[in-house]
Structures are given as structure tokens and as C-alpha cells.
Symmetry: C2
Subunit: 102 residues, 2 copies
């Protein structure tokens, strides 16, 4: 999902640059994720036969449409992130109180 978003925002990107923009991803996971997305037809992988190697990734129309479909979820997440964190804290507090009783 982060890869999808990043590619949607920045368009065509090289492997390392994409990793930097996403933040905390091992290259192993990034590779796997991109291969899966490529297999699903969400991303286009373009290899340039030069030294040093250069590989660019960009969303296909299908990938972009998925990004748009997720738009509502991103908005929701932004709006309710804190609410959820609070709910978790409250839940843990309730749980501990109940546990202590028994």
C-alpha cells in the first residue's frame, strides 16, 4: 500500500529512490512487493541495460485505479488515526483493570 501511494504521488521512480521515499523497507521486501505488484499488473517494471543498472517502476492504469479506490481509506485513516490510538489505550487500561480483579 505504501509503494502504491508513493508511486501514485511521484510517478516513475528508480528502485533506490522508491525505497527512500517509502522509508523503512528492506530491499528484500521492496523487491518482493514490486514483483508481486508487477505480477498483478499494478506496476510496470522497466529495466535499462546500462552500467550501473537502472530500473524504473511506475503504476499501470490498473495500479492508478487501485490507488484512487484506496483514496477513501487514506482519508479515513488520517481522520481517525488518533481516535484509534486512544481506543487502544482505553482498551488496554480496561483489560488491565479487569485482569487485576481476578
Amino acid at each position: 500500500m505504501l509503494a502504491l501511494e508513493t508511486l501514485e504521488e511521484h510517478g516513475k521512480l528508480r528502485f533506490t529512490r522508491l525505497g527512500e521515499l517509502i522509508g523503512d523497507v528492506s530491499q528484500k521486501m521492496l523487491t518482493k512487493t514490486l514483483r508481486q505488484m508487477e505480477a498483478d499488473g499494478l506496476v510496470l517494471r522497466e529495466v535499462f541495460p546500462v552500467v550501473p543498472p537502472r530500473v524504473e517502476y511506475e503504476l499501470t492504469p490498473l495500479g492508478r485505479s487501485l490507488g484512487e479506490a484506496f483514496c477513501g481509506v487514506w482519508t479515513w485513516a488520517d481522520e481517525h488515526r488518533q481516535t484509534i490510538l486512544d481506543a487502544r489505550t482505553a482498551f488496554t487500561a480496561r483489560k488491565n483493570a479487569t485482569d487485576a480483579m481476578n
Copy 2:
């Protein structure tokens, strides 16, 4: 996600009934999922102190809002499921062809 959808469609549900409607879930996973959703404030868990036990689950307003946010994704999935399956087949075919060359 399936639990969210099912609860959104059917409203208040008992544990076993919810499991049946979702289809292929072990009670372990269903329990875990529901507890997580409860902790996140997405679902309300109501226990009736009767024999046999009766526990009902229903979405909170926060849970319903998430269900709505996911609406676009469900639609997308319905529309593109087959496209993705085809893409995977094509990708595997390409991969095998390439592998055979080397």
C-alpha cells in the same frame, strides 16, 4: 475486512453466526480479529451472562465509517478481480518462458 463487511451487511451477529457468514475462518482467527477490532473501537462486544453463553458483535459508528471508506475498494476488487487473475497467469507464463531460455 471480511468481518467488517459481514457486520456491516448483517448488523448485530452472534459469534458462530458471524463465523458461518464469513465462511472459512477458524474460531481462533475470528476471536483474534474481533478482539483487535474491539480494541481499535471498530466493534462492540456484548456478553449475555446466560447458559449457553451468548455474545453479540456489532459495528460502532467508527467501524461503520471504515466500512464506508472501504466501499471504493470493494467495488474496485469486484470490477478487476478477473483482470488481476489474468495478469498473474500472463506473468507466470512470461516468467517460465524467460527461465526456460537460460
